[in-house]
Assembly symmetry: C3
Homo-oligomer: 167 residues x 3
Amino acid sequence: MLPAAGTMETDEQAMNIDAKLHELGLALHDAPARIAAYVPAVRVGNLVVVSGQLPLTGGRLLAVGPVPSQVNVDQAQEAAAQCVLNGLAALKAALEGDLSKLKRVVRVGVFVQSDDTFTDQALVANGASEFLEKLLGEAGRHARAAVGVNALPKNATVEVEFLFEVE
Amino acid sequence: MLPAAGTMETDEQAMNIDAKLHELGLALHDAPARIAAYVPAVRVGNLVVVSGQLPLTGGRLLAVGPVPSQVNVDQAQEAAAQCVLNGLAALKAALEGDLSKLKRVVRVGVFVQSDDTFTDQALVANGASEFLEKLLGEAGRHARAAVGVNALPKNATVEVEFLFEVE
Amino acid sequence: MLPAAGTMETDEQAMNIDAKLHELGLALHDAPARIAAYVPAVRVGNLVVVSGQLPLTGGRLLAVGPVPSQVNVDQAQEAAAQCVLNGLAALKAALEGDLSKLKRVVRVGVFVQSDDTFTDQALVANGASEFLEKLLGEAGRHARAAVGVNALPKNATVEVEFLFEVE
């Protein structure tokens, strides 16, 4: 998993995401401005819908193949956290660089590439959920759907999509 | 399936969900206030997003394993209806106990644990959809996505997530 | 794939969807007013949620079975584009026939029936995404989640759901 950090106390603190990421030794890479035939994020009113994110970092996937035969739960959790970083990068671009406009995470959809007999999708999804709470405190707590699937784009182990409330 | 009941006539009646549940001999258990790293429901404006619900009742799952090799369609429909009960319990908690604030069900997402050759996911999902209409009348009619998956958390046969419009 | 056409230049043009479809030799069939226990589309505020669409045309599915063992990527893309047509028909009915009220496509969810080793779900989903952009120009660009699943209703190769912003 990514480095641990205490949950922040106030909304104001919680919103200082860039500082929190820096403290954790992490950074958001620029989201691609254009992904083929769709876009990384769409704003409608005070909602931002972020496209399904794969655990890409530095141009490669952090984990490929199903859990647990090819990827263990710890690795899959780390991959789910990487999807969060990529989702926040897409959100940041949609907010023209100003993550302080994020009010809260509304929903996270987690798809875990699973062997037919794997039943701990919730544990894998916690890699995303706990990382969001670590970064954002109360504002990071969200509704969630986590399911298993037999196949994902580029053979990624996990894909995570997001719905954010913004100012 | 759960006991049959006529569709209610007016919005006012339709909103009297607790009474309707009582008439059907059903009750909503308290939703857990906190589920690990995420929450049962998030309100944003006049929308409430409810997390994916498993067919839990009294601490156990009503159905586990894929349809149809381990669970038949009737049993899976009943499990889907239980997910609705759990989703309404989560909604009720988000509305501070006042389900009369529910205006309508907007969307239901149904994930059915399926053998590779099973193609009646719509029938299983009807277990949720018909139960919602039975309880809520017109207000219970919703958009829906129903798909098969090879694996679900805790080996549940079905998982259902919800989007509600509220006052 | 469906016939090629240039991306339209202005929002005004982009919204003239019926004319664009006519130019492509395509037409929207009437959406069924009532599908079993759910409805094709629900409007909430300035959003319209459209139910998961199968690649039905003239009462039959354009593609059945998983990719690639039973359906190749080209065929699956064409099926995904048919889902878009059906989704726009559902939207049109929800807008009482007036597609000019469509402001933009917000989100597309694409479920691709996949062999366990298939990893090009994004290519299949492009069949939907590129067709939306072709029809709608900028207004057709959307956020997207594309995943593989082992089974879909009626053995359809692909199912696509939609979130639209409307006036």
